[in-house]
Subunit: 685 residues, 2 copies
């Protein structure tokens, strides 16, 4: 497919390189490569254009140097967050969030199990998520680099990740709905993390037949209260607003002028319920009948006050402002949006809300000033079927710009320009939202979904990079079978023309949204103080120092207080009886940066990551007699392989060190006899 854009930016680089060859022929035997290769020879050898050379030099980041930015990307179905360096576009870490992640020892016996368990729902253990929109914590509308939040569309959950150690600290479950999409979006000082539902259903997860869709099914906007001091969402202080069963989609929080408001769009205001097997039209066509859907405008400060004044009803433990109250108290207003809207993005100055319609060719800019005036003057165009006041579309918008077929999401630079992803056309459209003019389009490869820009959701975007998050990558990378990676394309927007720099394959989940933060805003920890429980942030009560190691047996419970340091575990033998419950408490005594140990108990599905100083607690039952090695799973030193020990599980009724029940099938050298059982392996009392 068309790669012409790669050849834009033919430039002085051309001149320079050309001249170079004119006045200096590469010395040395022709075609000899290796250390004496000239730029020209390398261009020939690797078939690189001048644009490629420029792109290479704009993205290559030598080892030993930090990237300028970190992209924190949705991991999609992987259920994780991806940390990517830019402009090098290197994957730095896959952060375990909703899905167990063994390298981090997250969900394989240690404290991570408790975090994941927060996200389980009743007896339903959920081992994955559909992660959509990560949002960085903000202070005064600017990324502060402290936390990142993300939602799980498949199970209506939100997670909190601490960026001081890139570890997930909390998962909260929305008990009212069973899917979300418009989340996690933060307010300018991270007062709230906004999560809005996607597919309508009876609130509280009750049953109602689909024929009662209009009467019983609902949407919801959840406002999760964030306690920054604790670094956790305060569920008791969180609340929600009931919404009509218009499939709510993306959301964004107002800022500066529009601070205190939230905006979310919707599709399927037709309330189509499909019925493909029954010969009815599928939702995709049923939901595409009307010319207009509804932009929801929510005054969350007013709503917050209503909740404080007790004007809410409690459903499944959550304070909910009913749709009727929301409509009557003037905290919810609806405005028409071009059909099948998707993206909903507030401009850096907070004055405009940009919406793209999937089946439209325009980006529409709503004026917050106009909206506010209509609301304050109660100048309604009418009410919807649920009594919610509506505002006139034409009176609410600043204008529309025709940019191409299938506009989705919009991000911004520092010069008043907007960059909108155009899905069907596979392009990025650059346009100015001050004077509403389309400036430039470049093709991307292919089917771009979300788009992101450097510091793009803040009040002060940087204006140097945009990343196109493409859903398809056909013909862009080496083949890896029928399931293709996604394609992140880094685009330079610093110059007068957009320039594609590099393609990055994403072969782990399908990312949705991402954010891009200045690397120097991240203040990460290098080691933990010895004995820290990273999930409580406190020194663990069972933290074990050198010399304090012990095995304490009480009945069928065995408490093991263990330490790990290059290159051994103490104890390195754990002798128990079949059926015993083992409480393992292990502390890394290391304090050198990057000196991580791991701990695996073979055949017990236990795997811990022991970063310097970290403490972990694991409880498990030694359910089957046998000899189980445990060992360090991180190559920590020259004698790493020797950093091992044995869990010895005696058959029931067998005394320690006894061979009574030992039925080894091995062929022992004839004449060799078992020595008397030494007491050495007997657990200390």
């Amino acid at each position: 497919m068309n790669k012409q854009h790669l050849l834009t930016g033919v430039s002085l680089a051309t001149a320079v390189i050309a001249v170079a060859f004119a006045c200096a022929k590469p010395k040395g035997p022709a075609g000899q490569l290796g250390a004496s290769a000239s730029v020209k020879e390398l261009m020939d050898k690797r078939k690189l254009t001048e644009a490629d050379v420029e792109a290479a030099l704009r993205t290559y980041t030598p080892g030993g140097r930090a990237d300028e930015y970190m992209i924190l990307a949705s991991g999609g179905q992987a259920g994780q967050i991806l940390a990517i360096g830019a402009p090098s576009m290197r994957l730095l870490k896959v952060i375990g969030v909703f899905t167990p992640e063994p390298w981090q020892g997250y969900g394989y016996g240690g404290g991570g199990n408790e975090i994941l368990a927060q996200g389980h729902q009743g007896d339903q253990k959920l081992g994955w998520a559909d992660v959509h929109h990560p949002n960085l914590s903000e202070t005064k509308g600017d990324y502060d680099g402290q936390f990142i939040f993300v939602n799980d569309k498949a199970n209506a959950r939100v997670a909190v990740v601490d960026l001081s150690d890139f570890a997930t600290k909390q998962i909260v479950v929305n008990p009212l709905v069973s899917s979300d999409h418009g989340g996690a979006f933060v307010t300018p000082n991270t007062e709230y993390v906004i999560e809005t539902s996607q597919y309508p259903a009876p609130l509280g997860r009750d049953y109602a037949p689909i024929e009662q869709y209009k009467e019983k099914y609902r949407g919801l906007a959840m406002f999760w209260k964030f306690d920054r001091a604790k670094g956790r969402i305060d569920q008791a202080a969180s609340w929600a607003i009931e919404l009509p069963p218009y499939t709510q989609d993306l959301a964004d929080a107002g800022k500066l002028d529009s601070d205190g408001f939230a905006f979310l769009n919707s599709f399927n205001t037709e309330m189509a319920i499909g019925g493909t097997l029954e010969g009815k039209p599928p939702i995709e066509s049923g939901a595409s009948q009307n010319d207009m859907d509804y932009l929801h405008v929510i005054d969350w400060r007013k709503a917050e006050k209503l909740v404080a004044d007790g004007k809410s009803t409690t459903i499944k433990g959550v304070k909910v402002i009913s749709l009727e109250t929301a409509a009557n108290e003037g905290i919810l207003h609806l405005i028409g949006e071009p059909k099948s809207p998707h993206g909903c993005d507030v401009t850096p100055d907070g004055k405009e809300i940009i919406v793209g319609g999937k089946l439209d060719t325009h980006a529409t800019s709503y004026s917050f000033e106009k909206i506010k005036k209509l609301i304050d003057g109660k100048q309604y165009s009418g009410k919807d079927a649920y009594g919610v006041p509506t505002l006139d579309f034409q009176q609410s918008i600043k204008g529309q710009v025709e940019i191409g077929l299938g506009p989705l999401h919009t991000v911004f630079d520092n010069k008043g320009n907007a960059y909108t992803s155009v899905f069907i056309e596979s392009a990025v459209a650059k346009w100015n939202y001050k004077d509403m003019k389309l400036l430039e389009k470049i093709p991307v490869h292919y089917n771009i979904g979300h788009i992101l820009s450097a510091e793009g959701d803040t009040v002060s975007p940087d204006g140097n990079y945009v990343v196109a998050m493409n859903k398809m990558s056909i013909d862009r990378f080496s083949p890896v079978g029928p399931l293709y990676p996604q394609d992140f394309q880094l685009i330079d927007i610093e110059g007068p023309k957009m320039r594609l720099l590099v393609d990055m394959p994403i072969g782990i989940g399908e990312p949705h949204y991402s954010q891009m933060i200045k690397m120097d805003k991240l203040k990460t920890r290098k080691v933990y103080p010895v004995g820290e429980n990273i999930y409580t942030g406190q020194k663990d009560p069972s933290a074990t120092l050198a010399g304090q190691e012990k095995i304490v047996r009480s009945g069928t419970t065995v408490d093991v207080y263990m330490t790990a340091i290059r290159s051994h575990f103490t104890p390195d033998r754990i002798d128990v009886e079949e059926g015993d419950t083992i409480n393992l408490h292990v502390t890394s005594l290391e304090q050198s940066e990057d000196q991580t140990h791991g701990l695996s108990f073979n055949l017990h599905n236990i795997d811990l990551s022991l970063e310097p100083g970290k403490h972990e607690n694991v409880t498990f039952v030694a359910s089957k007699a046998g000899v189980y090695p445990f060992y360090c799973t991180e190559f920590c030193s020259a004698l790493h392989l020797e950093m091992a020990g044995y869990l010895l599980v005696r058959p029931k009724g067998t005394p320690p060190g006894s061979a009574a029940a030992a039925g080894s099938a091995s062929a022992a050298p004839s004449g060799s006899a078992a020595p008397p059982a030494a007491s050495g392996a007997a657990p200390k009392k």
Copy 2:
């Protein structure tokens, strides 16, 4: 730390660029970047040296172009295999192998569950693995690009991945041991996949007290028979050899001259068993007393014949050649190796076996010709404690080369050179194994474990790239908290001097070994024929075509025959009663490349990936009344969000479409009444 090596390779590139600036000053306003940047301006702006420029041009790979090579890397604790393009060093895909992988729908309800279940052990469901040594299938000692095998150190398992679709097709469990390490290594025509144990234990996983280590604990070499036609390991035709309890480590198969033999080394021939809590020395020191450990030389063709002749005993269903038989029949011989050996690598010509000692400063080359002569002449230096004949070290080796402190693994080029990873020194040593001379060393960053080279394990390595697989990356990348990524460093070995090209962070598991295959050897599938079950390779009996969709109810079992195509599911409503068992059969009707759908059932931990044509079957119980959306998890089209439906689970005893038990807590608009239940949603009979 020392980054001097980055500045080697100052070169004609310098001259050319210098001259360039001499004869052509960049035009345009100084410092103006964007499209008119010169190479010099970019070098200044991004602080790049000439070496950096050269490295950038040697690695940058424009979108739309395939990489030259694919690296298939161990995913370490992630339990997966990583597919990486080289020289761009981009992660193309994380292949789900031992750990559930939701993007691929592997382990979340579909056929992948059955593959993962093959690896469960008794009632122990294992959700991760410690993946060590991937090995590509070979034909005549050359990679054929058909399959890759990998071992799980933590649970003694081996997996088979089909490279036509990058999907895991089989997991086999070794029932005799509870840890492995020397695997998976293939014989030159993939007759066998070799897996050797690591930490000794009673064979068959019986219990024996650790005081009986010498008498009852054993090592093992497993020879898994591979059926290439079926693309599966034939467990019934596989067999093993009992070994002494010398902690066996890495292994390699002979080739060409040494075809028919296998070589594995060992450490802790002292048979130290630790006892740190009991005041005994840890294994790391107990295992480092002797100057020599043992290289194991196995004549597997002879062993194969012994098994055929019935000279084996069966343990836990596996034919095992006892240690005594192995010793007496001359299929196992031992030779001393410098203390704490680690790597064991056969040269491309099959004539030499290179061993590195972790606490040694030498690489030792064993001569297969000398070994064979000693064996054939029964010229033994003695026997070990288990009656295994030993060969004299000096008479067995070709020689030793002093290369630095802590040599581990060795790979090869096409010029008779060996490249050995030097862990403690953090360096790669290049030496010639023909004339046994050290040629060059370069620093790597840091603590290099394994090393790999292009087509490096074949009879004909390519000699252009080496990758240093470093365990530590301190100061090399942007910080991501106390758990640091690993660092793959791509090194150009084509020229007279080694040159570091680029650092690639690995932030998902700690890779051990990897292999690097020519990209054009991989013949991958682009789509599946409609209805294919990718785990059987056959059209699924439940495959559903357009017009065949139906819901069949029989008692409390509901069979749903579903299709998926842009942008709807048929059916899009599934109406069942609480407690019903649902057998979902879903077929993707797509046949366009890269047109993948996903299918998630909210709150049911079900997630499928439906690549074009793929069929999946899922069985689950609708255990809780409620309304559960299901939807497409891959952004497949402009109306992707509309590709959804509802699983309606009625409370027990509620007839279809009835609102009797519907206790919706939502505030419906007053006066709205539920319409009579339509029969539309009633399942078809």
